[in-house]
């Protein structure tokens, strides 16, 4: 009898426990009505601001609504610069969460202060919605800028240029542009060596001798640059090297302190490339190998940054353009 009671109490307890549990019965996933309904534009495209000043921290977002959730392409194009910002997604509504523009660029050059045409299209449907927004202030780049070449070539660089044929190392401003109105061109033919030219930014030349002032967390530090090479060529190589003063003696000791590197082979169109400091490796003849120094990625100990312009000596003329060389923290550079 005693066990009968226990059994009964246990059963009742279990039943009460289960009865007390409530489930969230909100349907899982996107609404089927959104996915399979008839497509109609319910609200036209509109910008949250008619004029936006990115330099003062403003941003603009776009709104529109359709009857079903569908893929969209929002394209903002500068009338003067030709810069393009493209936002894609899948949604029934466009709002600040999925159609926010903070002045950055998807396709170089960067935006100027100009009128921009905005176009919203939906793949698979004929409807095209348009709007206009005016940029009154350019986006401010939050980065430790090594050089953007807008004021000419930064004299803080030390350079070495080989003797060769058709050597071109100069600031250019002919379109197509990347960031701003100027960029740097490196070109030439050196038949006896891979190295065509080299630029170095020593720690002593940065911030009045205070150094690069980078975070000590290599996961948070990014090196960024915008690169391209001459159309029709594929022989240009940019070798980025970062030397660390592991022992803190103020100099870099060849062969005993870390040298991190990455090899860049640009395409013919401008491309913003970002490299996380912790992802850099030690390269020997282009192949990853064991670290030379203490093996720790220590951005705060960066002694100097080198940019080597290389090409196979037998490949002939090589040419590469660079712009906006900068370090950022926490995220890659957005232009």
């Amino acid at each position: 009898m005693r066990f009968h009671s226990k059994f009964l109490v246990a059963s009742l307890g279990l039943a009460l426990l289960v009865a007390g549990c409530e489930r969230d019965l909100t349907p899982d996933g996107p609404s089927l009505s959104d996915l399979y309904g008839t497509f109609k534009v319910k609200t036209a495209l509109a910008a949250s601001l008619a004029q936006v000043d990115f330099s003062s921290g403003q941003s603009v977002y776009f709104t529109a609504e359709t009857s079903i959730s569908t893929d969209f392409i929002l394209e903002i194009k500068g009338r003067t610069s030709g810069a393009v910002k493209r936002i894609t997604g899948k949604s029934r509504t466009l709002d600040a969460t999925n159609a926010l523009w903070q002045g950055e660029t998807s396709q170089f050059p960067t935006f100027q202060t100009e009128i921009c045409d905005v176009q919203l299209t939906f793949p698979g449907y004929a409807d095209t919605l348009t709007a206009v927004v005016t940029v009154t202030g350019k986006r401010v780049v939050e980065a430790t800028i090594l050089d953007d070449f807008e004021g000419g070539f930064n004299p803080s660089w030390t350079k070495f240029i080989q003797t060769g044929a058709n050597m071109q190392f100069s600031v250019q401003s002919a379109p197509p542009l990347a960031e701003g109105t100027s960029y740097y061109r490196m070109g030439g033919t050196v038949a006896w060596d891979w190295l065509i030219g080299m630029y170095e930014m020593p720690k002593a030349n940065m911030n009045g001798g205070a150094g690069f002032q980078l975070s000590n967390d290599a996961e948070k530090v990014f090196f960024n640059g915008v690169f391209r090479q001459m159309a029709g060529l594929d022989n240009a190589i940019i070798l980025l090297q970062l030397r660390e003063d592991d022992n803190g003696d103020g100099t870099y000791s060849e062969g005993s302190e870390d040298l991190w590197a990455v090899e860049i082979r640009p395409e013919s169109a401008w491309e913003l490339m970002s490299f996380k400091y912790s992802d850099l490796v030690t390269l020997v003849n282009g192949a990853a190998s064991a670290a030379i120094g203490n093996g720790l990625h220590e951005p705060e100990k960066l002694h100097r940054l080198s940019i080597l312009f290389l090409a196979n000596p037998s490949s002939g003329y090589a040419q590469c353009d660079a712009d906006m060389l900068a370090f950022t923290e926490n995220a890659p550079l957005a232009l």
């Binding site: 489930r23 899982d28 089927l32 009505s33 996915l35």
Partner: protein
């Protein structure tokens, strides 16, 4: 919840008693023996597809393989098993086709003749909602020679057993607790299995812990009925904090209570109920519960005919996640090794049931901590077995010996989603299964069986433009076995399997945290016919030789082709 320590200190004065394994220890054990399995198989495949002029139509494959388990018993309390696989693919030249592999390494023993422990590679299972590897897609209903081929080839290589065990690496401890009053005894089983190695901080270490405590009671409800069993089952899968830099850790715990209560000599009630809690890497948490209750009625005698009827209600919440019990048996997106690309466009062939007989790489060897996307090619009502989440199921089953040598097995099940997918309208499911098994006294004897299984899913009136779900999977299975000799060593088997699905269904796509990210609907059509004719020689209880012909005729929306093969399969266990 009671635990053993509580019991031993207070009201029961518990004591540890000799477990049944003590007897095992005292039996004569040779110091060294060999156990294992060997097999030899050869397939000659022929592929055919109308208008396909590029795919090579013939492919031959075969191997001979031996799993040699060296069983060492250094003392009466300890056993060491090291099983090495030696495999030679036919066509290897002077040993170049020979591979060696470690199949199983295990140490087990007794502590004080009371506590049994096992370390190394362990096959382990608990209840269907906590720690339970799903069987092959058609476990229990495949015709006999097809089932034999599947278990001997792919199933064996993928470590599937008849007990829904997962092959794990770690350790188990088992012991029995006896009581002076109340329960007769309690069997405890504890486990700790490593799921992911940390590699010195490069990855986050992951382990599964848990066990069960199963209590046997005198039947105080009905003295004439057999004993009552109750139990508690726990499985906890956890990323180990501090084993890597990661601070976002996964964790899942499933706790259930289970029981088996004979209410009468012919009437029995069993249940399992419990809940799960999941901590995702994002920090989100999910928790839900499940219920399973079964009433069973048994009548008759095994020699004179039986009649068994069961009624089952199962409810598994949409957020009840039990990875060790909800993982699908096969990898849906993988291409088969045989005739991987077919047609003049060289499109990748989707695996069919024929491939599941032969290719172990199509099976999941370990559970997934997330559900992944559903594949409803073969199952739609319960793709993750009985523990399939988001289902409320009522099922009745009946097994009746209808006449001499004839047994009718039938079941009908209805299920419904608990939470809608993309809509508040719930998808309904049904499954009807009728099978007849018949022995016939002609010649030296013959056995026939026929089965029809019909699975359906439907959901209507979701919205004006949303297609209705109307999906059906009709299966036909036939088998005949003729005993050719008096000693029953030679048997002839003729079997046929027809698997189909058609209609409009939606695929549910989920992210790594089981959130539904997309729902994709489409028309489906698939027909697979597998006839088989084979001659089997049963040399002993543990060894047999089968020679046969097997065909697979497939028709889908995109392709129509066949793969036929002649095969020889020899298998022995020792």
């Amino acid at each position: 919840m009671m635990n053993v320590q509580f019991v031993s200190r207070s009201w029961l004065s518990a004591l540890l008693v000799l477990s049944s394994t003590a007897t095992w220890a005292q039996e004569y054990q040779p110091k060294f023996s060999l156990v294992g399995k060997a097999r030899g198989v050869y397939f000659a495949d022929r592929y055919q597809m109308p208008d396909d002029s590029t795919t090579m139509p013939r492919a031959h494959s075969g191997h001979v393989m031996a799993d040699l388990g060296m069983r060492l018993v250094p003392n009466a309390q300890t056993e060491v098993l090291a099983m090495v696989r030696v495999r030679n693919d036919y066509g290897g030249f002077w040993g170049s086709g020979v591979t060696f592999d470690l199949r199983q390494l295990q140490v087990k023993g007794l502590i004080q003749d009371r506590i049994r422990y096992t370390l190394g590679d362990v096959d382990y299972a608990l209840t269907p909602f906590t720690f339970h590897r799903p069987g092959p897609l058609m476990a229990g209903i495949l015709p006999s020679t097809m089932a034999h081929m599947q278990q001997t080839l792919a199933g064996y290589d993928a470590f599937t057993t008849g007990y829904n065990t997962w092959r794990q690496q770690g350790g188990t401890v088992e012991f029995r607790t006896g009581f002076k009053r109340g329960p007769e005894h309690a069997d405890q089983s504890l486990f700790a299995f490593r799921q992911r190695a940390g590699f010195g901080g490069q990855a986050t270490e992951s382990w599964a812990f848990g066990g069960s405590s199963r209590w046997k009671w005198n039947n105080f409800l009905n003295r004439s009925a057999s004993s009552i069993y109750t139990g508690v089952n726990v499985v906890s899968i956890r990323d180990i904090a501090g084993s890597s830099n990661a601070t976002d850790l996964y964790g899942n715990t499933v706790i259930t209570g289970s029981g088996q209560i004979p209410l009468h000599r012919n009437l029995s009630f069993s249940f399992e109920a419990g809940g799960s809690q999941t901590q995702w890497l994002s920090g989100d948490q999910d928790a839900d519960y499940m219920l399973h209750a079964k009433l069973g009625y048994f009548k008759g005698h095994m020699d004179k005919g039986i009649s068994v009827h069961t009624l089952t209600y199962t409810e598994v919440g949409p957020d009840f996640y039990s990875p060790a019990a909800q993982t699908t048996p096969n990898i849906s997106g993988l291409a088969p090794a045989a005739f991987t690309r077919i047609g003049n466009e060289k499109s990748i062939r989707e695996w069919t049931y024929l491939d599941l007989f032969r290719e172990s790489n199509l099976y999941k060897f370990r559970w997934n901590t997330s559900l992944g996307s559903d594949n409803n090619t073969y199952l739609i009502m319960d793709p993750r077995g009985i523990a399939t989440q988001n289902r409320r199921t009522l099922e009745g089953q009946s097994t009746v010996d209808v006449w001499k040598g004839g047994r009718l097995v039938s079941s009908a099940a209805w299920a419904q989603e608990i939470r809608g997918q993309g809509t508040t309208k719930l998808t309904q499911f049904s499954r009807i299964d009728v099978a007849l098994h018949q022995r016939v006294d002609v010649g030296h004897g013959a056995k026939f069986h026929a089965r029809y299984r019909d699975q359906r899913a439907w959901r209507i009136n979701v919205g004006d433009d949303v297609p209705d779900t109307r999906y059906s999977l009709p299966w036909w299975i036939f088998g005949a076995e003729f005993i050719l000799t008096k000693d029953a060593r030679f048997t002839l088997h003729a079997e046929y399997l027809q698997l189909a699905h058609s209609g409009f269904a939606f695929d549910i796509l989920r992210n790594a945290e089981n959130q539904v990210t997309d729902i994709q609907g489409g028309e489906r059509s698939h027909m697979e016919r597998i006839p088989s004719l084979s001659l089997k020689y049963t040399a002993s209880e543990n060894s047999d030789l089968t020679m046969g012909w097997l065909g697979s005729f497939v028709k889908t929306l995109d392709n129509q082709y066949s793969i036929q093969n002649l095969y020889v399969l020899y298998a022995i266990s020792f």
